[in-house]
Symmetry: C2
Subunit: 299 residues, 2 copies
């Protein structure tokens, strides 16, 4: 079993169930409310733990009650949260998530600019006995430190490039061994909306292994300079929230365990597909056994 260090954001999602998304000023009433831990790297860490891996999260929250709950929640889900720093005088990232009866969401996130800007990255470069690393775009300096440490240690690293960055990815793109884009981030970074073309263009800028997830259209990746494609597993989709994060966590775990990329992609796709059959975010992350059963049924 592999150990994976995830470096990036942890969030508390504040979910309000409403009949219709509110428009304009005024007072509206929600039929249900829940607080659910989220965040790209945190969700990936939870997915890894649920799949039987040893997951460490290196992150930063505020020195507040929400931050305490974020850490306690991660710990209860089997993630090593000892390197989640509680930063004085800052608030923990939170998102108001308004969900209507059709599942459409208005998400309003607040992350203090100071939380991930110009801060100490020492914790992010301590990879302990990790067999692999995953980073997100929310803490670029931490990601850079972790990817550099992974390269120095000769262990694989997955860069979850799910949102366009002002610098086009910078050194994260060239230091990671594996880069997995969202469709939106690949389009913005490569300058083309076509996933295959986008990957080919990005291959001119980095030697990293490259992939892009395109939701129901599955995954495209480059193998020996050629485009490969795996359609999404055919499942009844209930809720896609968190599916991308689960995909990247499972991908990083499989790669850390030494799987070839083609195998790792199938493993991650199955994990994300199972998650989509379940309501909620990372609460729907599957166990190893569930993923293996889906892979057995399908191939």
């Amino acid at each position: 079993m592999a150990t994976v260090t995830c470096v990036g954001i942890a969030v508390m999602d504040l979910l309000f169930q409403v009949d219709e998304l509110p428009v304009g000023g005024g007072k509206f009433y929600a039929s249900n409310y829940r607080e659910i831990g989220g965040g790209v790297a945190a969700n990936a860490a939870v997915a890894i733990a649920r799949l039987g891996g040893d997951a460490r999260l290196v992150s930063r929250v505020g020195d507040d009650a929400v931050g305490s709950r974020v850490k306690a929640d991660l710990t209860s889900l089997g993630v090593d949260a000892s390197q989640v720093a509680a930063v004085t005088d800052l608030t923990t990232p939170v998102s108001a998530v308004l969900v209507d009866s059709t599942g459409e969401r208005t998400i309003v996130n607040h992350t203090p600019a100071e939380l991930f800007g110009g801060c100490d990255t020492a914790a992010a470069s301590q990879l302990a006995d990790s067999d692999g690393v995953l980073v997100d775009v929310r803490w670029p300096d931490g990601a850079s430190a972790a990817l550099g440490a992974a390269a120095a240690a000769g262990i694989p690293s997955v860069f979850d490039f799910d949102r366009p960055m002002d610098n086009g990815g910078g050194d994260l793109l060239t230091t990671a061994t594996h880069v997995a884009f969202s469709r939106e981030a690949l389009a913005a970074t490569s300058g083309t909306n076509d996933p295959a073309d986008g990957l080919l263009r990005m291959a001119e800028r980095t030697e990293a292994w490259l992939a892009v997830t395109v939701g129901p259209d599955g995954v495209y990746w480059l193998t020996d300079g050629a485009i490969a494609h795996l359609p999404a597993f055919a499942v009844e989709v209930v809720d896609t929230a968190g599916a991308g994060d689960i995909f990247h966590g499972a991908l990083a775990l499989a790669i850390a365990e030494g799987d070839p990329e083609d195998i790792a992609i199938r493993f991650a796709s199955a994990a994300a597909a199972i998650k989509c059959t379940r309501p909620g975010g990372r609460a729907g992350a599957p166990s190893r056994q569930e993923v293996e059963e889906m892979l057995k049924e399908t191939f």
Copy 2:
């Protein structure tokens, strides 16, 4: 100094500062986030404490971390929160409050239906040594119990009728000694948009003293069957959030102290006006000295 028991809701407001209110699905980013205690009866209790009164709050929250913070916050503001029950398996009322750069707000509140429905009202009828009572519309059974106990004890009671009720107010309207409507609630309950006409119509249904607050147009009330009017104090309005609750808390305190209604109205109007000059909700509630200075300047 008088003791006032307030019976009704306590809420945690989750404030997200945004450039523009979000429209439709998607992800948006907030520039600031704060958690601020609110709720009609809770705000009134804080206003009373700030004005030097002894404020008790009888309310119900969930047995959760947010509920603990709500109680701790009220206690730190000088309110006796020992009768705020923490109810097992329910969540504390919360509101996502999205505020744009012009101050316009989208408020999405969640209050579990079970929290104030069909629950034990014993605490609401224990008025201890109270000199007055204030109730809101959020906990009708609790309000009814408190108003009944106040009537039996011969102490004055203010019904803050700020939102239309399905039953048109029911026994709350006839058991309270004083009913103070919002413009919206008076219009819905009386069937006319005219504040003066509305009050005259309501006088046919209850013997309680009747008033209505109409924002910048001030307050109308009935005195010996005739309409009286006090314009709002001329102040530079920064933020009206919580002003109504502060008005009602100050009104209940002045009446509990034995002030005639005409004097109590001026006191409450001055308190609400000062609050409007300050950002934030109950954080802007004034001290007794500040109110007395404004009254001195104005008359």
